[in-house]
Amino acid sequence: MSVGHLRTPLAKIEGLGSARTGTLHFWHQRMTAVALVPLSIWFVASALAYVGAPQGAVAAYFSQPVNAVPMFLFILASTYHMSLGVQIIIEDYFHNEGQKIALLMLNRFAAWAIGAASAFALVKMALSGQ
Protein backbone atom coordinates (compact mmCIF):
# COMPACT_ATOMS: atom_id res chain seq x y z
CA MET A 1 0.00 0.00 0.00
CA SER A 2 1.11 3.56 -0.69
CA VAL A 3 0.63 4.46 2.99
CA GLY A 4 3.60 2.20 3.83
CA HIS A 5 6.07 5.07 3.77
CA LEU A 6 4.06 6.91 6.43
CA ARG A 7 4.70 4.18 9.00
CA THR A 8 7.61 4.29 11.39
CA PRO A 9 10.53 1.88 10.81
CA LEU A 10 9.59 0.06 14.03
CA ALA A 11 6.00 -0.39 12.87
CA LYS A 12 7.29 -1.67 9.52
CA ILE A 13 9.54 -4.39 10.93
CA GLU A 14 6.98 -5.46 13.53
CA GLY A 15 4.41 -5.81 10.73
CA LEU A 16 1.57 -6.19 13.19
CA GLY A 17 -0.81 -3.70 11.58
CA SER A 18 -3.59 -2.13 13.57
CA ALA A 19 -4.00 -2.92 17.23
CA ARG A 20 -7.78 -2.89 16.80
CA THR A 21 -10.02 -3.70 13.86
CA GLY A 22 -8.12 -1.64 11.26
CA THR A 23 -10.01 -1.26 8.01
CA LEU A 24 -12.62 -3.94 8.80
CA HIS A 25 -15.49 -1.46 9.18
CA PHE A 26 -14.58 0.32 5.94
CA TRP A 27 -14.25 -2.96 4.05
CA HIS A 28 -17.53 -4.44 5.32
CA GLN A 29 -19.35 -1.23 4.45
CA ARG A 30 -18.01 -1.46 0.87
CA MET A 31 -18.72 -5.18 0.52
CA THR A 32 -22.33 -4.75 1.64
CA ALA A 33 -22.61 -1.69 -0.64
CA VAL A 34 -21.53 -3.73 -3.67
CA ALA A 35 -23.91 -6.56 -2.72
CA LEU A 36 -26.75 -4.08 -2.27
CA VAL A 37 -26.47 -2.66 -5.80
CA PRO A 38 -28.20 -5.63 -7.48
CA LEU A 39 -30.18 -6.60 -4.37
CA SER A 40 -31.79 -3.19 -3.91
CA ILE A 41 -32.68 -2.92 -7.61
CA TRP A 42 -34.41 -6.30 -7.28
CA PHE A 43 -36.05 -5.19 -4.03
CA VAL A 44 -37.44 -1.95 -5.53
CA ALA A 45 -38.95 -3.90 -8.42
CA SER A 46 -40.54 -6.41 -6.02
CA ALA A 47 -41.76 -3.84 -3.54
CA LEU A 48 -43.34 -1.61 -6.19
CA ALA A 49 -45.19 -4.57 -7.65
CA TYR A 50 -46.36 -6.07 -4.34
CA VAL A 51 -46.64 -3.30 -1.74
CA GLY A 52 -50.30 -2.73 -2.62
CA ALA A 53 -51.06 -6.35 -3.46
CA PRO A 54 -53.42 -8.50 -1.36
CA GLN A 55 -51.88 -10.43 1.55
CA GLY A 56 -52.19 -13.77 -0.25
CA ALA A 57 -50.27 -12.50 -3.26
CA VAL A 58 -47.42 -11.14 -1.11
CA ALA A 59 -47.19 -14.37 0.91
CA ALA A 60 -47.26 -16.43 -2.30
CA TYR A 61 -44.53 -14.25 -3.82
CA PHE A 62 -42.19 -14.72 -0.86
CA SER A 63 -42.99 -18.43 -0.54
CA GLN A 64 -41.07 -19.03 -3.75
CA PRO A 65 -37.35 -19.70 -3.15
CA VAL A 66 -36.36 -17.54 -6.12
CA ASN A 67 -37.88 -14.54 -4.27
CA ALA A 68 -37.31 -15.60 -0.65
CA VAL A 69 -33.55 -16.03 -1.05
CA PRO A 70 -32.78 -12.59 -2.55
CA MET A 71 -35.11 -11.01 0.01
CA PHE A 72 -33.25 -12.79 2.81
CA LEU A 73 -29.93 -11.55 1.42
CA PHE A 74 -31.35 -8.04 1.05
CA ILE A 75 -32.47 -8.03 4.71
CA LEU A 76 -29.06 -9.26 5.89
CA ALA A 77 -26.96 -6.90 3.76
CA SER A 78 -29.15 -3.83 4.30
CA THR A 79 -29.48 -4.14 8.09
CA TYR A 80 -25.71 -4.73 8.42
CA HIS A 81 -24.93 -1.83 6.06
CA MET A 82 -27.39 0.31 8.03
CA SER A 83 -25.74 -0.49 11.38
CA LEU A 84 -22.29 0.37 9.95
CA GLY A 85 -23.52 3.68 8.52
CA VAL A 86 -25.46 4.80 11.58
CA GLN A 87 -22.41 3.89 13.72
CA ILE A 88 -20.30 6.42 11.78
CA ILE A 89 -22.94 9.11 12.23
CA ILE A 90 -23.09 8.49 16.00
CA GLU A 91 -19.29 8.55 16.25
CA ASP A 92 -19.18 11.82 14.29
CA TYR A 93 -21.78 13.79 16.24
CA PHE A 94 -21.86 12.47 19.83
CA HIS A 95 -18.80 13.36 21.85
CA ASN A 96 -20.00 12.52 25.34
CA GLU A 97 -18.47 9.10 25.97
CA GLY A 98 -21.38 7.60 27.92
CA GLN A 99 -23.99 8.88 25.50
CA LYS A 100 -21.95 7.62 22.54
CA ILE A 101 -21.54 4.10 23.92
CA ALA A 102 -25.24 3.90 24.79
CA LEU A 103 -26.23 5.00 21.27
CA LEU A 104 -23.75 2.61 19.64
CA MET A 105 -25.28 -0.28 21.58
CA LEU A 106 -28.80 0.88 20.78
CA ASN A 107 -27.83 1.09 17.10
CA ARG A 108 -26.64 -2.53 17.03
CA PHE A 109 -29.63 -3.75 19.05
CA ALA A 110 -32.05 -1.97 16.69
CA ALA A 111 -30.35 -3.36 13.58
CA TRP A 112 -30.47 -6.91 14.97
CA ALA A 113 -34.10 -6.51 16.07
CA ILE A 114 -35.26 -5.15 12.70
CA GLY A 115 -33.22 -7.74 10.80
CA ALA A 116 -34.41 -10.64 12.95
CA ALA A 117 -38.08 -9.59 12.82
CA SER A 118 -37.97 -9.10 9.03
CA ALA A 119 -36.13 -12.38 8.46
CA PHE A 120 -38.52 -14.27 10.74
CA ALA A 121 -41.56 -12.93 8.88
CA LEU A 122 -39.93 -13.86 5.58
CA VAL A 123 -39.04 -17.40 6.71
CA LYS A 124 -42.58 -17.85 8.04
CA MET A 125 -44.00 -17.00 4.61
CA ALA A 126 -41.37 -19.06 2.82
CA LEU A 127 -42.00 -22.20 4.87
CA SER A 128 -45.76 -22.00 5.22
CA GLY A 129 -46.01 -22.34 1.43
CA GLN A 130 -48.59 -19.51 1.20
Binding site: L48, A59, M82, G85, I89, E97, S118, A121, L122, M125
Partner: protein, 144 residues
Protein backbone atom coordinates in the same frame (compact mmCIF):
# COMPACT_ATOMS: atom_id res chain seq x y z
CA UNK B 1 -12.27 13.38 27.11
CA UNK B 2 -15.09 15.84 27.59
CA UNK B 3 -15.09 15.57 31.38
CA UNK B 4 -11.37 15.70 32.16
CA UNK B 5 -10.81 17.32 35.60
CA UNK B 6 -8.84 20.33 34.34
CA UNK B 7 -10.68 20.77 31.06
CA UNK B 8 -11.49 24.43 30.47
CA UNK B 9 -14.89 23.56 28.99
CA UNK B 10 -16.81 25.74 26.59
CA UNK B 11 -16.36 29.43 27.20
CA UNK B 12 -18.30 32.33 25.68
CA UNK B 13 -16.60 33.66 22.55
CA UNK B 14 -14.83 36.97 23.32
CA UNK B 15 -16.36 39.92 21.52
CA UNK B 16 -14.91 40.64 18.08
CA UNK B 17 -12.90 37.42 17.81
CA UNK B 18 -13.11 35.54 14.49
CA UNK B 19 -15.32 32.46 14.30
CA UNK B 20 -14.14 29.48 12.30
CA UNK B 21 -16.40 28.61 9.38
CA UNK B 22 -19.23 26.13 9.95
CA UNK B 23 -22.28 24.76 8.19
CA UNK B 24 -24.34 27.98 8.16
CA UNK B 25 -21.40 30.09 6.97
CA UNK B 26 -20.09 28.01 4.06
CA UNK B 27 -21.69 28.44 0.68
CA UNK B 28 -23.11 25.15 -0.52
CA UNK B 29 -21.13 23.57 -3.35
CA UNK B 30 -23.15 20.77 -4.95
CA UNK B 31 -20.57 18.19 -3.84
CA UNK B 32 -21.16 19.17 -0.21
CA UNK B 33 -24.92 19.07 -0.71
CA UNK B 34 -24.62 15.57 -2.21
CA UNK B 35 -22.50 14.41 0.72
CA UNK B 36 -25.03 15.71 3.24
CA UNK B 37 -27.93 14.28 1.25
CA UNK B 38 -26.19 10.90 1.18
CA UNK B 39 -26.12 10.89 4.97
CA UNK B 40 -29.68 12.18 5.26
CA UNK B 41 -31.04 9.58 2.84
CA UNK B 42 -29.10 6.93 4.78
CA UNK B 43 -30.94 7.94 7.96
CA UNK B 44 -34.25 8.02 6.08
CA UNK B 45 -33.62 4.52 4.76
CA UNK B 46 -32.75 3.30 8.26
CA UNK B 47 -36.13 4.60 9.45
CA UNK B 48 -37.69 3.04 6.35
CA UNK B 49 -36.49 -0.45 7.36
CA UNK B 50 -39.14 -0.25 10.10
CA UNK B 51 -41.80 0.09 7.40
CA UNK B 52 -40.28 -2.79 5.43
CA UNK B 53 -40.31 -4.86 8.63
CA UNK B 54 -43.96 -3.95 9.22
CA UNK B 55 -44.89 -4.94 5.66
CA UNK B 56 -43.25 -8.37 5.99
CA UNK B 57 -44.68 -9.07 9.45
CA UNK B 58 -48.15 -7.98 8.33
CA UNK B 59 -47.97 -10.18 5.23
CA UNK B 60 -46.74 -13.12 7.33
CA UNK B 61 -49.46 -12.67 9.96
CA UNK B 62 -52.51 -13.06 7.73
CA UNK B 63 -55.19 -10.94 6.04
CA UNK B 64 -56.42 -9.17 9.20
CA UNK B 65 -53.13 -7.62 10.25
CA UNK B 66 -52.30 -6.97 6.58
CA UNK B 67 -55.48 -4.89 6.17
CA UNK B 68 -54.11 -2.25 8.55
CA UNK B 69 -50.86 -1.97 6.59
CA UNK B 70 -52.66 -1.91 3.22
CA UNK B 71 -54.96 0.86 4.48
CA UNK B 72 -52.03 3.04 5.55
CA UNK B 73 -50.10 2.31 2.33
CA UNK B 74 -53.09 3.26 0.16
CA UNK B 75 -53.51 6.59 1.98
CA UNK B 76 -52.10 9.60 0.06
CA UNK B 77 -49.74 10.23 2.97
CA UNK B 78 -48.61 6.62 2.70
CA UNK B 79 -47.92 7.13 -0.99
CA UNK B 80 -45.84 10.23 -0.20
CA UNK B 81 -43.80 8.28 2.38
CA UNK B 82 -43.38 5.47 -0.15
CA UNK B 83 -42.11 7.92 -2.76
CA UNK B 84 -39.75 9.48 -0.21
CA UNK B 85 -38.37 6.04 0.65
CA UNK B 86 -38.02 5.20 -3.03
CA UNK B 87 -36.21 8.45 -3.88
CA UNK B 88 -33.92 8.04 -0.84
CA UNK B 89 -33.03 4.55 -2.03
CA UNK B 90 -32.38 5.77 -5.60
CA UNK B 91 -30.20 8.64 -4.38
CA UNK B 92 -28.25 6.50 -1.90
CA UNK B 93 -27.77 3.82 -4.57
CA UNK B 94 -26.52 6.19 -7.28
CA UNK B 95 -24.36 8.24 -4.92
CA UNK B 96 -23.10 5.00 -3.38
CA UNK B 97 -21.89 3.92 -6.82
CA UNK B 98 -20.18 7.34 -7.07
CA UNK B 99 -18.47 6.61 -3.75
CA UNK B 100 -17.37 3.16 -4.96
CA UNK B 101 -15.84 4.79 -8.05
CA UNK B 102 -13.89 7.14 -5.76
CA UNK B 103 -12.75 4.14 -3.71
CA UNK B 104 -10.98 2.74 -6.77
CA UNK B 105 -9.58 6.15 -7.70
CA UNK B 106 -11.92 7.55 -10.36
CA UNK B 107 -13.80 10.86 -10.55
CA UNK B 108 -11.82 13.01 -8.15
CA UNK B 109 -11.31 16.03 -10.47
CA UNK B 110 -13.44 18.95 -9.27
CA UNK B 111 -15.45 19.38 -12.51
CA UNK B 112 -16.06 15.61 -12.61
CA UNK B 113 -17.15 15.49 -8.98
CA UNK B 114 -19.54 18.41 -9.58
CA UNK B 115 -20.96 16.81 -12.71
CA UNK B 116 -21.49 13.40 -11.10
CA UNK B 117 -23.16 15.06 -8.09
CA UNK B 118 -25.62 16.81 -10.41
CA UNK B 119 -26.17 13.56 -12.33
CA UNK B 120 -26.96 11.75 -9.07
CA UNK B 121 -29.60 14.35 -8.14
CA UNK B 122 -31.25 14.35 -11.59
CA UNK B 123 -30.86 10.61 -12.08
CA UNK B 124 -32.32 9.72 -8.69
CA UNK B 125 -35.37 11.92 -9.27
CA UNK B 126 -35.98 10.49 -12.75
CA UNK B 127 -35.41 6.94 -11.54
CA UNK B 128 -37.71 7.34 -8.53
CA UNK B 129 -40.44 9.07 -10.54
CA UNK B 130 -40.28 6.47 -13.32
CA UNK B 131 -40.28 3.51 -10.93
CA UNK B 132 -43.09 5.04 -8.89
CA UNK B 133 -45.23 5.58 -12.01
CA UNK B 134 -44.64 1.99 -13.15
CA UNK B 135 -45.48 0.81 -9.63
CA UNK B 136 -48.77 2.73 -9.65
CA UNK B 137 -49.70 1.13 -12.98
CA UNK B 138 -48.77 -2.36 -11.83
CA UNK B 139 -50.65 -1.97 -8.56
CA UNK B 140 -53.65 -0.57 -10.41
CA UNK B 141 -53.48 -3.72 -12.53
CA UNK B 142 -53.58 -5.92 -9.44
CA UNK B 143 -56.90 -4.37 -8.49
CA UNK B 144 -56.34 -3.09 -4.96
Amino acid sequence: MADAPNSPGPRPRPFGRPLSPHLQIYRWPITMAASITHRATGIALAAGTLLLCWWLIAAASGPDSYALFAGVAANPLGEIVLFGFLWSLCFHLLNGIRHLAWDVGYGFKVPTAKLTAALVYVGSLLLAAGAFAIGLMVRGGLGT
